[in-house]
Amino acid sequence: MSAPEPEESEIEELEPEGPEIEELEATPPGTPPLWASIVAAIVFALFLVHPMFLAISDLVALPELYGILGIADRTPWWLLVTGIAVPPVAYVVALLLARRRPMPTRVLLFGAALGAAYAVQLSLVAIAGVLLG
């Protein structure tokens, strides 16, 4: 026993409507292919590992140093936490802003995020040095 064949009118209803799919799949001109977007995102994520590593190193080493100097209560935790937070925040913001943009703009946005991450990191090093006296 087999299921009854659907009528022709039912088949037409089930068929996807072309224009809607075209609208969904439409991407702005110049948008790079998915694989290129993923490669760019991964490459810049790897670049941002270093400022993140610097921030984690500071988070581990600075409290110890302040402790040895007997000023553990003056540890600038806000600087250390900011240092940890900035690289991933900069990366995520760049990733969100880079969506549906051509590759040169994406590289520019990721480069600006990387530069900002390093600038903040070096600023925190300088400020921590001043706080240490």
Partner: protein, 148 residues
């Protein structure tokens, strides 16, 4: 010798002062002519681009930020010489120098990204991103050394 940009997308590549050197009229003429040249979506983008007094205001509003970002880049160029990495291994020292280099070019990168990224955004959005960049990229190593 700089030439007039072929489309408004090249606006970010124009230099402040182009108007004074007589490039502004050609640029505007091209903006006006482009929508009638073809009916493709690119022409619609040209139509959406600011023109006339609004366009001039949009460009002039960026000039103070251009100077500020230039000063920030110079500040970082001087400032990075006042902080040491403490890295003893060559890889660590090399990565630190890489970071210093990116801190110096952060200001031009942010400026260019803000201009290109807000090409079709309202003027306030563009100024907001530029203002945020100034706040984030302040060259503290330089400022602290100067004020100490």
């Amino acid at each position: 010798m700089a030439t007039a940009p072929e489309d408004p997308d090249d606006e970010a590549l124009r230099w402040a002062g182009d108007e004074e050197r007589g490039l502004e009229p050609a640029f505007r003429e091209q903006e006006r002519a482009a929508p009638t040249a073809s009916g493709d979506p690119a022409s619609a983008a040209v139509v959406a681009a600011p023109a006339g007094r609004a366009g001039t205001l949009r460009r002039l509003a960026v000039v103070p930020f251009l100077l500020a970002y230039l000063a920030i880049a110079i500040g970082w160029g001087i400032g990075v010489q006042r902080i040491a990495s403490g890295a003893t291994d060559p890889i660590g020292a090399g990565l630190w120098q890489f970071g210093e280099f990116f801190a110096i070019i952060a200001a031009p990168l942010w400026f260019a990204a803000a201009i290109v990224g807000t090409r079709r955004a309202p003027l306030l959005a563009r100024l907001g991103w530029l203002l945020l960049g100034v706040a984030v990229l302040l060259p503290w190593p330089f400022l602290l050394a100067v004020t100490a």
